[in-house]
Symmetry: C2
Subunit: 349 residues, 2 copies
DNA sequence: CATGGCAAGGAGAGCGCTCTCCGGCCATGA
DNA sequence: TCATGGCCGGAGAGCGCTCTCCTTGCCATG
């Protein structure tokens, strides 16, 4: 069966394998892709030939005809035109939030042989690059994590007819699938806990107003407190980073020295708040109870933070699953999946 | 010039652009790739045709002939067969260390139009996948960040003749380019500082012994202390995570209650050490001075950590630069670039 | 024994590019 | 006047696959 001709030269191709196995290119392709009926002894011969030649299929050639790459873009996107003190990439990758999302995505994609390509899209040019990248067929679809609600990227993707799934609902209605958390319900959990502990003077440090999740956490919290008979909740706006939590807490204490409970819109800021409280000599939770959000860095904090858990890895995996489904079947209707938060009680409240 | 024929259908190809511009495929290709002399008016016509058709070159077709993808693999690799309590991807991406390396790599690659593909290689199968991925021509080369010194991946890459650059010197000599830090010099900086502050009873919490960087930091520190007249430095081994720093410090205090200075092999463990010291009622730096390593999370710690700065972003960028050079010119000799650390004095020592 | 049906494997046409080769044209010099 | 050379642009091969068609041969059936 196997006519042992020397494989031409360089990297072996299908042709070489076919020659060694004494069959046609088509048959080798069939064996590799496991389609149709190929006689067992021929399969055997082909597999032997693949082993002896050390053949690996060329991805570019395959993509050229299948129109699939087995890659997806994992893009971190900002709104408008980013201008910060440090490069966008440093800011993004240093964030444990992004790390967990990436982990969840990779965990799902890996067993399925799909590879994520890291991309950033904080400026108009960068956004165009993402679109071009997808249109080139360098990736089959995109997973978008926006840092702001007003991100124009989702709209661009929809208009270009490219498969994509978002992390979190976009600020303005867009026909695109997304995965999100029931933020209001999560905030209500925090409110219930503070009231239950007997807090009477409750305040909040919210996230930036231009991201819908912040809005939802804030209004959800206010509503729940109103339901508990606290129609007014003092609040300051933060930017989700530790420093702003610290600064926010200082301001809150100065303006409302009798505070005995705070709901902070994420764990990083909550950590900052705890530091600020310590600077003012307030004990947590004895003098002031603190509840964070996300359950990201909460456990490593001193005291360990009571927080609203967001199942990020599950959400990220679901996002990836949805994207693959959309790629598989382009006619799949736009879908959204909302996850339920849970209160994780530790020591800070 | 431009004969306005309707572009056939679907995604426009070179052929369509050529037809609209009234030239040949080859000429359009020349304009796009900016090679050879094409008359200005024809360039103009081609560019107009590209704009009207909305043409984007197909990457797979291009790769097929150029044998370049414009992608590189960014792989986080472990030694042997990983088995941990949590998935490898969660552990990796949650680590601020990886985030900073990724940030540095992306910062360098982005302006050059090269895209990083995230890969993990903690088991033999995963390692084979990485090799296969590169051999398939899905990426032009690899950047390897190993979590252990005994990682077999570098050897596999060398044997397969694939372009790759490592973060940190491999445990056993391998003909492969890498970027590293002068760890011993960094540790000596820490030793000098502790001695200069007047510390007399100094201990250290090292990283895991199976990573060369830990070894170097430890032996560099011991040597420098010996040079200052302290031939014996008590030490415990950690695993670079916060908890192990905390546990290590507890043990150190128990065994050597009179400690007045500690050198900790990274910031995360140093944070843990600070917490442990607080639990024991020791003030930092008044009772015990603490010096970390990396300058990653040091600034956000309370008190802010004095630490040995490792210019991670620069190192990561250099790693990417080296890889592109190796891809560009395969005959480039194996190179290594060693960066110099710097002491960053904050409040903990 | 003729016929139909079906399974197995080969032939070959592309997929959308790049790049080498070649021909046409014009300017230049002998 | 004709040969020479340089510059432009076209023709066409080929990168390594997949997949549709088609041929071949075997067996069951009437």
């Amino acid at each position: 069966m196997s006519t042992d001709l020397p494989p031409s030269s360089g990297v072996p191709t299908l042709e070489d394998v076919a020659r060694v196995a004494g069959v046609s290119r088509a048959t080798v392709s069939r064996v590799i892709n496991g389609i149709r009926n190929v006689a067992p002894e021929i399969q055997e011969a082909v597999n032997r030939a693949i082993a002896t030649t050390g053949y690996v299929p060329n991805r570019a050639a395959r993509s050229l005809v299948t129109r699939r790459t087995g890659a997806i873009a994992l893009v971190v996107s900002g709104a408008g035109d980013y201008s910060g003190d440090e490069p966008f990439e440093s800011r993004v990758f240093a964030d444990p939030f992004f790390g967990r999302v990436a982990g969840g995505v990779v965990g799902f994609l890996r067993p399925r042989g799909v590879h994520p390509v890291l991309m950033l899209a904080e400026t108009p040019e960068a956004r165009n690059e993402v679109i071009a990248y997808l249109r080139q067929g360098s990736a089959d679809g995109a997973l978008i994590v926006s840092t702001h609600g007003e991100d124009p990227l989702p709209r661009l993707l929809v208009d270009a007819g490219l498969p994509a799934v978002l992390w979190a609902r976009p600020a303005r209605p867009t026909p695109i699938s997304y995965v999100d958390l029931a933020h209001r319900a999560g905030a209500a959990l925090a409110a219930d806990r503070l009231v239950e502990r007997g807090c009477r003077r409750v305040a909040t440090i919210s996230g930036p107003f231009d991201v819908p999740a912040s809005q939802d956490r804030l209004s959800g919290f206010q509503e729940a407190m109103a339901g508990h008979g606290h129609p007014y909740v003092p609040g300051v706006e933060g930017d989700f980073r530790q420093n702003s939590g610290e600064a926010g807490m200082h301001r809150l204490i100065k303006e409302h020295p009798d505070i005995d409970g705070v709901f902070v819109a994420n764990d990083l800021m909550a950590q900052g708040a705890v530091l600020a409280l310590r600077d003012h000599g307030r004990r947590v939770p004895e003098d002031v109870a603190v509840i964070g959000f996300d359950d990201s860095t909460a456990a490593a904090c001193r005291p360990p933070l009571t927080t609203v858990r967001q199942p990020m890895e599950d959400m990220a995996a679901e996002m990836a699953r949805l994207l693959l489904a959309h790629i598989e079947d382009p006619s799949l209707p736009v879908t959204s999946r909302i996850f339920q938060p849970a209160l994780v009680v530790r020591q800070s409240a």
